[in-house]
Amino acid sequence: MAVLTEEQVILQDQAKSWVNDASSVTHFRAMRDAGHANGYAPDTWQAVCELGWAGILIPEEYGGSGMDFRTFGVVLEETGRGLTASPLLASGLVGASAILLGGTDAQKKQYLPSIADGSVIATLAVDESSQHDPSMIALAANAVGDGYELSGTKFFVVEGAAADVLVVAARTSGDAADVDGVTLFLVDTAANGVTRTPLSTVDSRGYADITFERVAVGADAVLGTVDNGRGLLEAVLDRGRAGLAAEMLGTGTEAFDRTLEYLKTRVQFDQVIGSFQSLGHRQATHFMNMEFARSCVEAALTAIDQDGEDVAQLCSLAKSQMGEFLHAMTNDMIQMHGGIGMTDEFDAGFFLKRARATEALFGNRAFHKKRYIGFSGI
């Protein structure tokens, strides 16, 4: 791990002990078994908010602590280790980033303090098919009077079941594939015409499909500028990708550690199975890929903090490399544990399920590979 600042070390210790005491995989299992409709336990989210993490990115003047993405990444890595289910990423990182990057003073004053204290959950609604494809935005936002009417459907909105406010990517002019003509709107989920269909997914978290039927919003609901939202959308998505990759890094590291522990304790043929090269070499290769993924995730978060020119490329690199490691590690976690790994009673399945959901979210490996190579001029 890169050399951390004193503040980051304090936050890391805090996150480690909280995850250990109050939000471990055992707590996640209890949430899954209890079947919370929003995909998280309310007391978990309350604790996250009391720790102040929903306001990590939000400046002090709006009730947050004004820290950077690299620092947020340290916390997300720990929650990723415990498979913590909460709207922290969707609201405190993605939702907050959208308003921080695109919001007017009035919008910031209206939303940021309540995102920071957790009383409002914000999230991004972008995808319109089974694929993550922000280059295709068809959901219509027609100008009506001083405002707009939104009609269309957004699929697989993360924390969509619980969200209070949505950042909706909509089309104000042109065709679905046009670069121009995209506008972001802030839409209250309680507004007339908003219908949510919660989804039951393998990772037990709170996604929803959301339909908009002539949902009326005022001109003050526009986030950023009309017809010019593409850049803002990409910037918000990249922040989400880097933050999600940090969470995945924690999940992958925990899967690695647990598997390594098993290799050191499980005895067959009178020896620990980790002494077999066919397993030890595979685990050593996972170690290499884990270290590489970590470098990419840390570099992406740092690039965002430094407003580097290569943010987009590094975020695609991070999401893709992280996805590749997590995919292989969770597969081998089950394989190396053998039959016990296949049982619901054992935790390995939770890692596999979380992995597949996060691999797909905000663009899978194929998506980010294409996006990355696109920067190379071929």
Partner: protein, 393 residues
């Protein structure tokens, strides 16, 4: 700290403006001083000035002729040299591995004796490690240095010795006690011009001969050339390999992503063609993406590990960089000739462009990447044992 770094940046800028010959801006050196090259003209001038300043080895102690810079200052120097288009032409085994090991294990007298010439690139060092019967199981080496009081008499042979044909000196590990495998090895230097030293190049599948066999027949080596204690050389030899592996993480290997030269993108444009600015062959485009992303991740990891090592010291985890480098380079060279199609299998002659011939040979040469400096299998064993703490390796 920031203040210091800014002051240093001005110093570095000014020195480069005064000392770096503008004729060399952006030029690759014609070889490496300290690894066979003997420069003339402006390259010779640049080698002398850089070596005199000690900035060929920026972080080495000034008392032995090094730059005496902090890691932060060295990073600034790298940036300023890059901006100036100035490449450090001094390198080889001396700066990468032997010097750092000598700093850790040598006596003050030995450091004074060897380091200044390494820093200036005046002496070409080769490494006597592998033997015909001691490859992956290096400690089974048999070349024997018999203790004759004030000197050793060496008999035996080394193999796969890079650059031995042109080398001035060798450092290596030799058996000094036949009854004890690990505690019977000593770390010794020797002059390659000593009577009884014979070098035979080995021709490889690429047609080139970068490696050699070295034979020793009653070679007399003074006792002063013993580094560390007698029979305690295995630890020094292993420690040096850590530097070998981390050397890959250094300036050269750490910058694979933007290394210049003929890139996979160039080859794809020339041989496969683009449609609307995108490579028409989607399968090949994806494989190029894989290789580029892996090399980008490699660079970021090398940089991160260097920064961490500067604070925490060297770590065996650096072994993953050797594994990764072999994978990256072999994949890249294979992709390169595959992109070139049947132009990728030329051996020699005017029927092929020099570029094409060079890459065919580079592909063949790259097969050694997963063998030399510890094979992939040995490196995986080391990571399993020392980093993961697994038993039985």
């Amino acid at each position: 700290m920031t203040q210091d770094v800014n002051v240093f940046r001005e110093e570095a800028k000014a020195w480069l403006a005064d000392s770096f010959p503008t004729s060399l801006k952006g030029q690759l050196p014609p070889g490496i001083a300290g690894f066979g090259a003997k420069f003339t003209g402006d390259w010779k001038l640049w080698q002398e000035r850089l070596g005199e300043k000690g900035w060929s080895t920026p972080t080495w102690p000034a008392e032995y002729g090094g730059g005496g810079l902090s890691p932060e200052q060295a990073a600034v120097l790298r940036e300023e040299m890059k901006l100036a288009g100035a490449i450090n032409p001094i390198g080889g085994f001396g700066t990468m591995m032997w010097g750092p090991t000598l700093l850790d294990y040598g006596t003050d007298e030995q450091k004074q004796r060897y380091l200044p010439d390494i820093i200036r690139g005046n002496i070409h060092w080769c490494q006597g490690y592998s033997e015909p019967g001691a490859g992956s199981d290096l400690a089974s080496l048999q070349s024997f240095a018999e203790d004759r009081g004030d000197h050793f008499i060496i008999n035996g042979s080394k193999i796969w010795t890079s650059g031995a044909k042109e080398a001035d000196w060798m450092y290596g590990i030799f058996r000094t006690d036949k009854s004890n495998k690990y505690e019977g090895i000593s770390f010794i230097t020797l002059d390659m011009k000593s009577p009884g030293v014979e070098v035979k190049p080995i021709k490889l599948i690429s047609g080139n001969s970068p490696f050699n066999e070295v034979f020793f027949t009653d070679v007399v080596v003074p006792k002063d050339n013993l580094i560390g204690e007698k029979n305690k050389g295995w630890a020094i030899g292993k420690h040096l390999l850590l530097h070998e592996r981390s050397g890959i993480a250094g300036e050269g290997g750490g910058d694979v992503n933007g290394g210049g030269g003929y890139s996979l993108e160039d080859a794809a444009r020339d041989h496969l063609g683009l449609q609307d600015g995108v490579l028409a062959d989607g399968g090949m485009r994806e494989r190029i993406a894989d290789n580029k992303m892996f090399s980008h991740a490699f660079s970021l990891t090398a940089r991160r590990m260097s920064a961490e090592a500067a604070v925490n010291g060297p770590t065996p985890a650096i072994g993953i960089l050797k594994l990764a480098w072999a994978k990256f380079n072999q994949d890249r060279e294979e992709l390169m000739i595959e992109i070139m199609g049947n132009r990728g299998v030329g051996w020699e002659g005017d029927g092929f462009a020099p570029q094409e011939l060079a890459h065919t040979r580079a592909m063949l040469r790259s097969k050694a990447n997963s063998i030399e400096g510890g094979s992939n299998e040995v490196n995986l064993n080391l990571v399993a044992k020392r980093v993961l703490g697994l038993k039985g390796y």
